[in-house]
Protein backbone atom coordinates (compact mmCIF):
# COMPACT_ATOMS: atom_id res chain seq x y z
CA UNK A 1 0.00 0.00 0.00
CA UNK A 2 2.79 2.39 0.89
CA UNK A 3 4.44 2.07 -2.55
CA UNK A 4 1.06 2.88 -4.08
CA UNK A 5 0.99 6.18 -2.19
CA UNK A 6 4.45 7.07 -3.54
CA UNK A 7 3.21 6.18 -7.02
CA UNK A 8 0.13 8.35 -6.54
CA UNK A 9 2.31 11.23 -5.31
CA UNK A 10 4.59 10.89 -8.33
CA UNK A 11 1.57 10.75 -10.67
CA UNK A 12 0.24 13.97 -9.11
CA UNK A 13 3.60 15.63 -9.75
CA UNK A 14 3.60 14.54 -13.41
CA UNK A 15 0.03 15.83 -13.78
CA UNK A 16 1.13 19.18 -12.33
CA UNK A 17 3.95 19.40 -14.89
CA UNK A 18 1.66 18.48 -17.78
CA UNK A 19 -1.04 20.85 -16.48
CA UNK A 20 1.55 23.63 -16.36
CA UNK A 21 2.41 23.00 -19.99
CA UNK A 22 -1.26 23.16 -21.00
CA UNK A 23 -1.81 26.36 -19.01
CA UNK A 24 1.21 28.12 -20.54
CA UNK A 25 0.62 26.98 -24.11
CA UNK A 26 -3.19 27.28 -24.22
CA UNK A 27 -4.25 29.76 -21.52
CA UNK A 28 -1.32 32.14 -21.77
CA UNK A 29 -1.70 33.28 -25.39
CA UNK A 30 -5.48 33.92 -25.17
CA UNK A 31 -6.23 37.54 -26.09
CA UNK A 32 -9.50 39.28 -26.87
CA UNK A 33 -9.84 42.33 -29.10
CA UNK A 34 -12.73 44.58 -30.08
CA UNK A 35 -14.15 45.31 -26.63
CA UNK A 36 -11.97 48.32 -25.75
CA UNK A 37 -11.06 48.55 -22.06
CA UNK A 38 -12.96 45.33 -21.34
CA UNK A 39 -10.55 43.24 -23.48
CA UNK A 40 -8.37 42.16 -20.55
CA UNK A 41 -11.41 41.44 -18.38
CA UNK A 42 -13.12 39.24 -20.98
CA UNK A 43 -9.82 37.44 -21.66
CA UNK A 44 -9.42 36.85 -17.91
CA UNK A 45 -12.96 35.45 -17.63
CA UNK A 46 -12.30 33.06 -20.55
CA UNK A 47 -8.99 32.02 -18.94
CA UNK A 48 -10.75 31.49 -15.60
CA UNK A 49 -13.43 29.26 -17.21
CA UNK A 50 -10.81 27.17 -19.03
CA UNK A 51 -8.72 26.94 -15.84
CA UNK A 52 -11.74 25.68 -13.86
CA UNK A 53 -12.46 23.08 -16.59
CA UNK A 54 -8.80 21.98 -16.46
CA UNK A 55 -8.95 21.66 -12.66
CA UNK A 56 -12.12 19.54 -12.90
CA UNK A 57 -10.44 17.29 -15.51
CA UNK A 58 -7.34 17.10 -13.27
CA UNK A 59 -9.47 16.01 -10.30
CA UNK A 60 -11.33 13.41 -12.40
CA UNK A 61 -8.03 11.94 -13.66
CA UNK A 62 -6.70 11.84 -10.09
CA UNK A 63 -9.86 10.11 -8.85
CA UNK A 64 -9.56 7.44 -11.55
CA UNK A 65 -5.86 7.07 -10.82
CA UNK A 66 -6.52 6.79 -7.08
CA UNK A 67 -9.09 4.02 -7.62
CA UNK A 68 -6.81 2.19 -10.06
CA UNK A 69 -3.65 2.35 -7.91
CA UNK A 70 -5.25 1.55 -4.56
CA UNK A 71 -7.66 -1.16 -5.77
CA UNK A 72 -4.72 -2.87 -7.49
CA UNK A 73 -2.70 -2.63 -4.26
CA UNK A 74 -5.55 -4.03 -2.13
CA UNK A 75 -5.99 -6.98 -4.56
CA UNK A 76 -2.30 -7.85 -4.28
Amino acid sequence: MRTGIYGFLFAMWILILIGGGIVVTILGPIEVTGYGDANWFIASVIKAIIAIILVVIWILILSKMKNWIFKKEIRT
Binding site: M1, I16, L17, G21, S44, I59, F70
Partner: protein
Protein backbone atom coordinates in the same frame (compact mmCIF):
# COMPACT_ATOMS: atom_id res chain seq x y z
CA UNK B 1 23.51 37.77 -0.70
CA UNK B 2 26.25 38.12 1.96
CA UNK B 3 24.44 41.08 3.61
CA UNK B 4 21.42 38.81 4.10
CA UNK B 5 23.34 36.32 6.27
CA UNK B 6 23.03 38.33 9.51
CA UNK B 7 19.25 39.01 9.22
CA UNK B 8 18.73 35.35 8.31
CA UNK B 9 20.74 34.09 11.27
CA UNK B 10 19.20 36.50 13.81
CA UNK B 11 15.60 35.84 12.69
CA UNK B 12 16.07 32.05 12.71
CA UNK B 13 17.57 32.07 16.22
CA UNK B 14 14.76 34.33 17.47
CA UNK B 15 12.04 32.25 15.76
CA UNK B 16 13.35 29.04 17.31
CA UNK B 17 13.99 30.31 20.84
CA UNK B 18 10.80 32.36 21.20
CA UNK B 19 8.73 29.20 20.60
CA UNK B 20 11.14 26.98 22.53
CA UNK B 21 11.05 29.24 25.59
CA UNK B 22 7.38 30.34 25.56
CA UNK B 23 5.78 26.93 24.99
CA UNK B 24 6.50 25.43 28.48
CA UNK B 25 4.85 28.40 30.32
CA UNK B 26 1.97 28.19 27.83
CA UNK B 27 1.56 24.48 28.68
CA UNK B 28 1.45 25.37 32.41
CA UNK B 29 -1.05 28.17 31.78
CA UNK B 30 -3.34 25.94 29.71
CA UNK B 31 -3.11 23.15 32.33
CA UNK B 32 -4.16 25.58 35.07
CA UNK B 33 -7.16 26.63 33.00
CA UNK B 34 -7.97 22.98 32.27
CA UNK B 35 -7.83 23.60 28.54
CA UNK B 36 -7.01 20.01 27.64
CA UNK B 37 -8.43 17.27 25.43
CA UNK B 38 -8.06 13.50 25.58
CA UNK B 39 -5.32 12.03 23.40
CA UNK B 40 -7.48 9.52 21.53
CA UNK B 41 -4.57 7.36 20.40
CA UNK B 42 -3.27 6.49 23.88
CA UNK B 43 -4.36 3.49 25.94
CA UNK B 44 -4.40 5.47 29.17
CA UNK B 45 -6.59 8.53 29.74
CA UNK B 46 -3.96 11.10 28.82
CA UNK B 47 -5.04 14.72 28.60
CA UNK B 48 -3.05 17.07 26.36
CA UNK B 49 -3.37 20.85 26.51
CA UNK B 50 -4.27 22.97 23.51
CA UNK B 51 -3.93 25.32 21.66
CA UNK B 52 -0.23 25.90 21.05
CA UNK B 53 -1.00 28.58 18.47
CA UNK B 54 -0.09 31.54 20.76
CA UNK B 55 3.58 30.53 21.06
CA UNK B 56 3.78 29.75 17.32
CA UNK B 57 2.36 33.13 16.28
CA UNK B 58 4.60 34.94 18.79
CA UNK B 59 7.70 33.31 17.30
CA UNK B 60 6.58 34.23 13.78
CA UNK B 61 5.68 37.85 14.58
CA UNK B 62 8.86 38.62 16.55
CA UNK B 63 11.19 37.03 13.98
CA UNK B 64 9.45 38.67 11.02
CA UNK B 65 9.48 42.11 12.71
CA UNK B 66 13.24 41.68 13.16
CA UNK B 67 13.52 40.78 9.48
CA UNK B 68 11.42 43.84 8.56
CA UNK B 69 13.86 46.05 10.47
CA UNK B 70 16.63 44.74 8.20
CA UNK B 71 14.84 44.31 4.84
CA UNK B 72 11.82 46.68 4.98
CA UNK B 73 9.75 44.68 2.53
CA UNK B 74 5.99 45.18 2.12
CA UNK B 75 5.80 41.41 1.68
CA UNK B 76 6.78 40.94 5.34
CA UNK B 77 3.98 43.24 6.54
CA UNK B 78 1.46 41.34 4.40
CA UNK B 79 2.82 38.05 5.76
CA UNK B 80 2.54 39.19 9.39
CA UNK B 81 -1.04 40.47 8.96
CA UNK B 82 -2.32 37.45 7.01
CA UNK B 83 -0.66 34.95 9.37
CA UNK B 84 -1.94 36.80 12.46
CA UNK B 85 -5.45 36.86 11.00
CA UNK B 86 -5.22 33.09 10.38
CA UNK B 87 -4.16 32.64 14.00
CA UNK B 88 -7.15 34.69 15.21
CA UNK B 89 -9.51 32.62 13.00
CA UNK B 90 -8.03 29.39 14.36
CA UNK B 91 -8.24 30.67 17.93
CA UNK B 92 -11.95 31.46 17.53
CA UNK B 93 -12.44 27.91 16.20
CA UNK B 94 -10.43 26.51 19.12
CA UNK B 95 -12.67 28.23 21.65
CA UNK B 96 -16.02 27.95 19.92
CA UNK B 97 -17.49 25.32 17.58
CA UNK B 98 -17.98 27.07 14.24
CA UNK B 99 -19.70 25.85 11.06
CA UNK B 100 -17.89 24.23 8.14
CA UNK B 101 -18.04 27.51 6.16
CA UNK B 102 -16.22 29.55 8.83
CA UNK B 103 -12.58 28.70 8.15
CA UNK B 104 -12.60 28.75 4.32
CA UNK B 105 -14.49 32.06 4.15
CA UNK B 106 -12.55 33.89 6.86
CA UNK B 107 -9.19 32.60 5.63
CA UNK B 108 -10.02 33.97 2.17
CA UNK B 109 -10.63 37.34 3.86
CA UNK B 110 -7.30 36.94 5.72
CA UNK B 111 -5.57 36.81 2.31
CA UNK B 112 -6.72 40.35 1.41
CA UNK B 113 -3.60 42.06 2.91
CA UNK B 114 -1.46 40.22 0.33
CA UNK B 115 -3.50 41.90 -2.41
CA UNK B 116 -3.74 45.25 -0.59
CA UNK B 117 0.05 45.47 -0.14
CA UNK B 118 0.65 44.35 -3.73
CA UNK B 119 2.83 41.56 -2.37
CA UNK B 120 2.31 39.31 -5.39
CA UNK B 121 3.25 38.96 -9.01
CA UNK B 122 0.46 38.16 -11.49
CA UNK B 123 2.79 35.84 -13.45
CA UNK B 124 2.31 32.20 -12.49
CA UNK B 125 5.59 30.34 -13.04
CA UNK B 126 5.55 26.74 -14.30
CA UNK B 127 8.53 24.40 -14.63
CA UNK B 128 9.79 23.74 -18.20
CA UNK B 129 7.13 25.90 -19.89
CA UNK B 130 7.71 29.37 -18.39
CA UNK B 131 5.29 31.97 -17.04
CA UNK B 132 1.69 32.75 -17.76
CA UNK B 133 0.15 36.14 -16.99
CA UNK B 134 -3.29 35.84 -15.38
CA UNK B 135 -3.99 39.19 -13.62
CA UNK B 136 -7.64 38.66 -12.65
CA UNK B 137 -7.38 34.91 -12.17
CA UNK B 138 -4.38 35.39 -9.91
CA UNK B 139 -6.41 37.46 -7.42
CA UNK B 140 -8.79 34.50 -7.17
CA UNK B 141 -5.80 32.21 -6.71
CA UNK B 142 -4.53 34.35 -3.79
CA UNK B 143 -7.96 34.21 -2.13
CA UNK B 144 -8.07 30.41 -2.61
CA UNK B 145 -4.48 29.63 -1.66
CA UNK B 146 -4.62 30.67 2.01
CA UNK B 147 -7.79 28.67 2.86
CA UNK B 148 -6.34 25.66 1.00
CA UNK B 149 -2.92 25.66 2.69
CA UNK B 150 -4.41 26.53 6.10
CA UNK B 151 -7.00 23.76 6.00
CA UNK B 152 -4.60 21.29 4.41
CA UNK B 153 -2.15 21.56 7.32
CA UNK B 154 -5.05 21.52 9.76
CA UNK B 155 -6.35 18.28 8.20
CA UNK B 156 -3.09 16.37 8.79
CA UNK B 157 -3.00 17.44 12.44
CA UNK B 158 -4.40 14.06 13.50
CA UNK B 159 -1.49 12.37 15.27
CA UNK B 160 1.18 13.44 17.74
CA UNK B 161 3.82 15.61 16.05
CA UNK B 162 2.61 15.11 12.48
CA UNK B 163 1.50 18.67 11.63
CA UNK B 164 4.60 20.38 13.08
CA UNK B 165 7.02 17.68 11.86
CA UNK B 166 5.56 17.71 8.36
CA UNK B 167 5.72 21.51 8.37
CA UNK B 168 9.44 21.39 9.24
CA UNK B 169 10.07 19.24 6.14
CA UNK B 170 7.77 21.18 3.78
CA UNK B 171 8.89 24.65 4.85
CA UNK B 172 12.63 23.89 4.71
CA UNK B 173 12.07 22.29 1.28
CA UNK B 174 10.32 25.49 0.19
CA UNK B 175 13.17 27.64 1.56
CA UNK B 176 15.73 25.55 -0.37
CA UNK B 177 13.61 25.96 -3.52
CA UNK B 178 13.46 29.74 -3.02
CA UNK B 179 17.27 29.79 -2.82
CA UNK B 180 17.45 27.67 -6.01
CA UNK B 181 15.22 30.10 -7.94
CA UNK B 182 17.42 32.90 -6.52
CA UNK B 183 14.64 34.66 -4.63
CA UNK B 184 17.00 35.19 -1.69
CA UNK B 185 15.02 37.80 0.29
CA UNK B 186 11.82 35.72 0.40
CA UNK B 187 13.91 32.60 1.09
CA UNK B 188 15.14 34.32 4.25
CA UNK B 189 11.61 35.50 5.09
CA UNK B 190 10.51 31.84 4.83
CA UNK B 191 13.19 30.41 7.15
CA UNK B 192 11.47 31.37 10.47
CA UNK B 193 8.53 29.10 9.53
CA UNK B 194 10.80 26.05 9.56
CA UNK B 195 12.48 27.06 12.82
CA UNK B 196 9.18 27.86 14.55
CA UNK B 197 7.83 24.46 13.47
CA UNK B 198 11.02 22.74 14.63
CA UNK B 199 10.87 24.35 18.09
CA UNK B 200 7.18 23.47 18.44
CA UNK B 201 7.85 19.89 17.29
CA UNK B 202 9.99 19.44 20.42
CA UNK B 203 6.77 19.62 22.53
CA UNK B 204 4.34 18.25 19.93
CA UNK B 205 6.22 15.06 19.03
CA UNK B 206 5.03 11.76 20.46
CA UNK B 207 4.08 11.75 23.35
CA UNK B 208 2.63 15.23 22.85
CA UNK B 209 2.73 17.72 25.69
CA UNK B 210 0.70 20.23 23.69
CA UNK B 211 -1.43 20.22 20.53
CA UNK B 212 -1.22 23.15 18.09
CA UNK B 213 -5.01 23.35 17.78
CA UNK B 214 -6.66 25.12 14.86
CA UNK B 215 -4.86 28.33 15.82
CA UNK B 216 -1.45 26.67 15.46
CA UNK B 217 -2.22 24.61 12.34
CA UNK B 218 -3.92 27.46 10.48
CA UNK B 219 -1.07 29.83 11.40
CA UNK B 220 1.53 27.43 9.94
CA UNK B 221 -0.56 26.69 6.84
CA UNK B 222 -1.44 30.32 6.15
CA UNK B 223 2.18 31.43 6.50
CA UNK B 224 3.24 28.67 4.11
CA UNK B 225 0.64 29.78 1.55
CA UNK B 226 1.62 33.44 1.91
CA UNK B 227 5.31 32.61 1.32
CA UNK B 228 4.31 30.66 -1.80
CA UNK B 229 2.50 33.74 -3.16
CA UNK B 230 4.99 36.46 -2.22
CA UNK B 231 7.87 34.25 -3.39
CA UNK B 232 6.17 33.45 -6.72
CA UNK B 233 6.67 29.71 -6.09
CA UNK B 234 3.05 28.56 -5.93
CA UNK B 235 3.58 25.40 -7.98
CA UNK B 236 6.74 24.39 -6.09
CA UNK B 237 4.93 24.99 -2.78
CA UNK B 238 2.05 22.78 -3.92
CA UNK B 239 4.51 19.99 -4.82
CA UNK B 240 6.24 20.17 -1.41
CA UNK B 241 2.83 19.94 0.25
CA UNK B 242 1.58 16.99 -1.84
CA UNK B 243 1.13 14.40 0.98
CA UNK B 244 -1.11 16.84 2.86
CA UNK B 245 -2.87 17.74 -0.41
CA UNK B 246 -3.46 14.02 -1.05
CA UNK B 247 -4.99 13.74 2.42
CA UNK B 248 -7.42 16.59 1.72
CA UNK B 249 -8.13 15.26 -1.79
CA UNK B 250 -8.89 11.74 -0.52
CA UNK B 251 -11.08 13.14 2.25
CA UNK B 252 -13.07 15.43 -0.05
CA UNK B 253 -13.39 12.87 -2.85
CA UNK B 254 -14.80 10.30 -0.40
CA UNK B 255 -17.05 12.68 1.57
CA UNK B 256 -17.96 14.75 -1.53
CA UNK B 257 -18.60 17.98 0.41
CA UNK B 258 -16.81 20.49 2.66
CA UNK B 259 -17.45 19.40 6.26
CA UNK B 260 -15.68 19.60 9.59
CA UNK B 261 -14.00 16.36 10.70
CA UNK B 262 -16.17 16.33 13.83
CA UNK B 263 -19.31 16.13 11.64
CA UNK B 264 -18.19 12.80 10.14
CA UNK B 265 -19.90 9.83 11.79
CA UNK B 266 -17.89 6.92 10.31
CA UNK B 267 -14.51 6.11 11.88
CA UNK B 268 -11.66 5.72 9.36
CA UNK B 269 -9.34 4.05 11.90
CA UNK B 270 -9.67 2.06 15.13
CA UNK B 271 -7.33 0.55 17.70
CA UNK B 272 -6.01 -2.98 18.04
CA UNK B 273 -5.68 -4.60 21.49
CA UNK B 274 -2.09 -3.36 21.79
CA UNK B 275 -3.36 0.08 20.78
CA UNK B 276 -1.86 0.16 17.33
CA UNK B 277 -3.95 1.88 14.71
CA UNK B 278 -5.72 -0.10 12.00
CA UNK B 279 -7.98 0.82 9.09
CA UNK B 280 -11.69 0.10 9.53
CA UNK B 281 -14.04 -1.52 6.99
CA UNK B 282 -16.59 1.24 7.64
CA UNK B 283 -17.85 2.29 4.20
CA UNK B 284 -19.32 5.54 5.56
CA UNK B 285 -15.93 6.65 6.92
CA UNK B 286 -13.80 9.02 4.85
CA UNK B 287 -10.68 7.82 3.07
CA UNK B 288 -7.66 9.58 4.56
CA UNK B 289 -3.89 9.37 4.17
CA UNK B 290 -3.60 7.62 7.55
CA UNK B 291 -6.29 5.09 6.58
CA UNK B 292 -4.45 4.30 3.34
CA UNK B 293 -1.14 3.91 5.18
CA UNK B 294 -2.89 1.47 7.50
CA UNK B 295 -4.41 -0.58 4.67
CA UNK B 296 -1.21 -2.65 4.63
CA UNK B 297 -1.70 -3.60 8.31
CA UNK B 298 -1.76 -2.03 11.79
CA UNK B 299 0.96 0.46 12.72
CA UNK B 300 1.83 2.37 15.88
CA UNK B 301 1.21 6.10 16.01
CA UNK B 302 4.96 6.72 15.79
CA UNK B 303 5.33 4.48 12.71
CA UNK B 304 2.52 6.30 10.88
CA UNK B 305 4.09 9.65 11.77
CA UNK B 306 7.41 8.56 10.27
CA UNK B 307 5.65 7.16 7.18
CA UNK B 308 4.08 10.61 6.63
CA UNK B 309 7.46 12.30 7.19
CA UNK B 310 9.02 10.00 4.55
CA UNK B 311 6.29 11.03 2.12
CA UNK B 312 7.08 14.66 3.04
CA UNK B 313 10.76 14.14 2.26
CA UNK B 314 9.86 12.46 -1.06
CA UNK B 315 7.65 15.39 -2.08
CA UNK B 316 10.32 17.81 -0.81
CA UNK B 317 12.79 16.19 -3.23
CA UNK B 318 10.22 16.50 -6.05
CA UNK B 319 9.84 20.19 -5.11
CA UNK B 320 13.61 20.73 -5.32
CA UNK B 321 13.68 19.01 -8.75
CA UNK B 322 10.77 21.25 -9.80
CA UNK B 323 12.73 24.33 -8.64
CA UNK B 324 15.70 23.29 -10.81
CA UNK B 325 13.28 22.75 -13.71
CA UNK B 326 12.12 26.37 -13.37
CA UNK B 327 15.41 27.43 -14.92
CA UNK B 328 14.95 25.07 -17.89
CA UNK B 329 12.78 26.05 -20.84
CA UNK B 330 11.56 23.59 -23.47
Amino acid sequence: MIDLVIPAFVSCVIAFFVVFVTTPPLIKFLKKRNMAVKDMNKKEDIMVVRPGGPSIILGIIVSEIVLYAFLQLNEIIALIITTSAAFAIGYVDDRKVMGGWFKPVTLAIAAIPIIAFGAYDTDLAFPLFGDVQIPLLYIGLVLLMIPITGNTINSIDVLNGVASGFMVIASFSLSICLFIVQNYEIAIVSLPLGFVSLAFYKYHKIPSRIFPGDSGALTLGAMYGTIAIIGGVEIIAAVALLPAVINSFLFLSSVKKIVEHRQIKGKPVEHTEDFKLKATDDKTAPVTLVRLLLAGGPLSEKQIGFAIFKLGIFSGILAVITAFMMGVSL
